[in-house]
Symmetry: C2
DNA sequence: CACACCTACTCAACTAATTGACTATGGGGT
DNA sequence: ACCCCATAGTCAATTAGTTGAGTAGGTGTG
């Protein structure tokens, strides 16, 4: 149900093909609503049938043709209605690593430490990429100026959520590593 | 695939019925691997068939009978193996509210503010509940003592992850509310 | 100049997750 | 007396999400 609105929200950035959307999703929407390309193609089909988006085929010379999608007025209205309603379901996190941590006490601490270190360096990489997205969004302005003047601040606020989430993640990793070190030193 | 190990990890706490597991899941495992009761019953069936858990029927007097499940040695080994391998997929978050925030720029700021305030008070409630779980786990000991002496610290580390996550969430809400206030004051 | 990767998808099969109804008994409140 | 909630589940239907293969030309790399 929500994938529908995630796609409509992505199209607020302007016309896009399924392929382009898949990439946009991968770097931004995926942070709070992941979807595979196949899911997107199916959803786009449905949305076009329901008249919430419009498709036009763009002939290309040295590439396969593509279908570009735009929000219709109906789509925009539907999305605005959705955006004003309280969420139907709370945030859901699925994190395999935390299952492993929950069950870690039967495992060699050195192995667990490695898992946490991997997570930490992954989070660092993610934060770096977020920083670059942030710079692109701000386009030279200070955050203050941007938040005062920009037409759309939604994408920036969700980016902020992603950044604080990864920072938290990093702090948690550091904390766990310190605890594991202590335990190994004593145990 | 991971639900399997989430269930096995839950059974590290000891024997439980499907019904009890559903409740345990709701308050602890659900924080990083949500599952409905129906999912759990099916998974327990499969795990029992695969010999990773054992079921025994407990006759009850004034209640329906129940089946209690315990980890078998095979189950424990399987779980330990899982816990030592790097995760196959990265953390996935699904958060309807963030879709709404992404699309918020067509919405009355006062309505958006309410959504954020709801999230904030929900996070506060969650944090309170986490605090109580924490106190129960520590059982009077200081965190330091607990982390040094306890047999199993996995559940505590995942609880810590939940706590830092909600704290971060709260900070993000405050931040967004401040920004919205600014914007309304100016716009 | 071979080989892998990029664009831009489609199709089919499968597993996982959600929703709602149903069974049956007991206890507490109005 | 009636209704709802708690216990302890089962069953069936539907939707959502995953995986892997296939198509077909173009581009970049050693």
């Amino acid at each position: 149900m929500s994938l529908k609105y995630a796609v409509l929200a992505a199209l607020l950035e302007g016309e896009a093909s399924g392929y382009e959307l898949a990439k946009v999703f991968d770097v931004s929407l995926a942070n709070f609503w992941p979807a595979t390309p196949q899911q997107l193609y199916r959803e786009l089909e449905r949305l076009a049938q329901d008249g919430l988006i419009e498709a036009r085929v763009v002939q290309q010379e040295r590439r396969p043709n593509k279908r570009m999608f735009t929000l219709t007025e109906a789509g925009r209205r539907d999305l605005d209605t959705f955006a004003a309603e309280p969420p139907r379901r709370p945030t859901a996190i699925r994190d395999e690593l935390l299952i492993k941590i929950q069950a870690m006490d039967g495992t060699d601490p050195a192995v667990t430490r490695e898992l946490i270190e991997e997570r930490r360096s992954w989070s660092r990489g993610k934060l770096d990429r977020y920083e670059r997205v942030r710079d692109r969004l701000l386009g030279g302005r200070t955050e203050e100026d941007y938040l005062r003047d920009a037409d759309r601040i939604g994408p920036y606020l969700t980016l902020m959520a992603g950044i604080t989430f990864e920072e938290e993640n990093l702090r948690w990793c550091e904390r766990v590593l310190a605890i594991l070190k202590q335990r190994v030193a004593l145990g």
